[in-house]
Amino acid sequence: MTTTTPPIATAPVPLTGAEAARVSDVKKVRRAFSSPIASLLVVILTVLWTVPTFGLLVTSLRTKADANSNGWWTFLAHPHVTLANYNSILFSNSFGGGGGLFPYMVNSLAICIPATLIPIAIASMAAYVLAWVRFKGSDFIFFVIFALQVVPLQMSLVPLLQLYSGGAHIGSFTILPKLHIAGTYTAIWLSHTMFSLPLAVFLLHNFMSQLPSSVIEAARVDGAGPMRIFRSVVLPLATPAIASFGIFQFIWVWNDLLVALTFGGGSPKVQPLTARLSQLTGSLGSKWELLTAGGFISIVIPMIVFFALQRYFVRGLLAGSVKG
């Protein structure tokens, strides 16, 4: 796949007459198969795929009475916009003791930022060594990391949780003492970091190993040590791949429910938006004007990232789609 290829900026080359004719001919080939029916079908599918999110947004902007008395599609006939739902879902304290969503949004951010930055740092160091500071067995280690992608994170949940809350022992011999981090941010950061490493190392290694060796040789000749080469040559050149992975990881962590639910221990102090919303879907039941506002809050950040950085996101997604 083209997932780790750096974006190659191709300057528009002026076409000769014959070439231009050929290009337009080819375009005609593709167009020759388009038809009004095909376009209509695309429009229908696009509308079908957009209406659900649109309905969510519209409902979140309606008054409680409106939202409960008729469908959101009637809004277009009698538009009456309010932001009250957002105010109450974010800050009100009337939801079964858990408070509004605002603190959970802060939790989501507090989880996402380190859970994106730490894997980037650790994985890029490892990928660099495996690609450029080769030693006996480095290929084998890369293969093992690469192969670890087949282990679903569900296999790790119970043992990791036991480790966080009770330490590791063989018989009465203690290998690792109690870490006392169950139900803290640290547990969630660590877990996300561990689960992301196989993919991250794989991606970044693929990218870094394709950097031209002449550049690294030149730095070596200039007397730069392996650490120096990493910091001032490889890292800057690998930025596009790091960005792709970073965006993918950020959205993945932001949208994650399972890891946060397991290692956050259901504590409101660390629970992210997704966990709280999943809970509220049960308890708020029919208060759709609030639930839709909450839902929209949770999807707005990925949506911004998505529209702003779509190209990087696609690249990360293509490569990371086996993750989980």
């Binding site: 796949m1 599918l45 795929w49 296999m155 790790s156 119970v158 839902g295 999807i299």
Partner: protein, 327 residues
């Protein structure tokens, strides 16, 4: 309000502290390792750079995976070895039979429909002028969390007692179409499982479309031109030229969505909580482990999930490696 704010600030400050601490440690190690000269330099670099990743992978994936396999042979409080009894339970318990069959249904239906719709859009859009708007809009759900998508669709499926104004889109539409007393969608077995699959299909179609559209773009124009000279029309071109040429990508897309589908957890948990005969493997594993505290059974379910996912991921990952090699 004020306390919420100061609370949030102190949380974010804690995060900045943690990240700062992490960066400081990395920098110190870098500085120390950079000081080293001569023969020590390379081994030190390897240790410093590769060490953390290896330790984390060992603690986070390798050891836990082995331990989960071990736990799956123990009873609920992990005190006694009970052989294959947990696996026996997974495959013979009447409740579980439903769960396994349902997971199988998910595994076949969701990927096929998502890939089918994705392919349809990719092919149609490939022949259109303004591609980016429909592509972006259909792709958008991919960025939305499963929880967010679940809320979106649960709202569509809400049903009110007949006679009242319906606020759920699905009920309103079928009433318009002449079905005057639609059922309570999420309670109607077995329809509800398929309604949950719709959410997955809605999310994954965009992914399938983007990957397949890229593959279709990769078909050389000369081939399409030649096919047209030979008289291939719209559908014929699609069936006998475009499909065979993107077969490899098509399989990767299907297996990828299959992997995601096998692990589907958030949708079932948020919309129905696994009630009303909608339970699937991944959510069952979570409930068994963290709600019923049946660690042995939960671990056995995790192992089953692992064994089911493994061939799919292995296929994909190898495919990815092969494509890189030939590029």
């Amino acid at each position: 309000m004020a306390s919420t704010l100061s609370d949030s600030l102190s949380k974010l400050f804690g995060v900045i502290e943690a990240v700062g601490g992490f960066v400081a440690i990395v920098l110190i190690i870098f500085f120390v390792a950079g000081r080293a000269t001569g023969r020590l330099q390379r081994p030190l670099t390897v240790l410093v750079c590769l060490g953390p990743a290896l330790v984390l992978l060992l603690i986070g994936l390798v050891v836990p995976a082995i331990r989960t396999m071990y736990l799956s042979f123990l009873n609920s409080d992990s005190k006694k070895v009970i052989g294959f009894r947990n696996f026996w339970w997974v495959f013979t318990d009447p409740n579980n039979r439903g769960v396994l069959i349902r997971t199988g249904e998910w595994l076949i239906i969701a990927p096929l429909f998502a890939t089918g719709f994705g392919l349809l859009v990719a092919v149609l859009v490939d022949r259109m002028k303004h591609q980016s708007i429909p592509k972006s809009l259909i792709f958008l759900p991919t960025a939305i969390s499963f929880v967010g998508a679940s809320i979106i669709w649960k709202f569509i499926y809400t049903t009110r007692a007949s006679g009242q104004q319906q606020i759920g889109l699905l009920s309103a539409v079928v009433i318009k179409l002449g079905w005057s007393h639609p059922p309570n969608w999420l309670l109607s077995i077995p329809l509800n499982t398929f309604l949950l699959m719709v959410i997955m299909i809605w999310i994954q179609t965009g992914f399938a479309m983007v990957v397949l559209a890229a593959a279709l773009k990769g078909i050389p124009d000369e081939i399409l031109e030649a096919a047209r000279m030979d008289g291939a029309g719209g559908f014929k071109l699609f069936r006998s030229v475009q499909i065979p040429m993107i077969r490899g990508t098509l399989i990767v897309v299907i297996t990828t969505i299959m992997i995601a589908t096998l692990k589907v957890f958030d949708i079932v948990r948020t919309v129905t909580g696994g009630n009303f005969n909608t339970q699937v493997l991944s959510n069952k594993m979570y409930s068994e482990t963290f709600v019923n505290f049946e660690t042995g059974r939960g671990s056995a379910l995790a192992v089953v999930l692992f064994l089911a996912v493994m061939p799919l991921v292995a296929y994909n990952v190898l495919q990815m490696k092969r494509e890189r090699a030939t590029r």
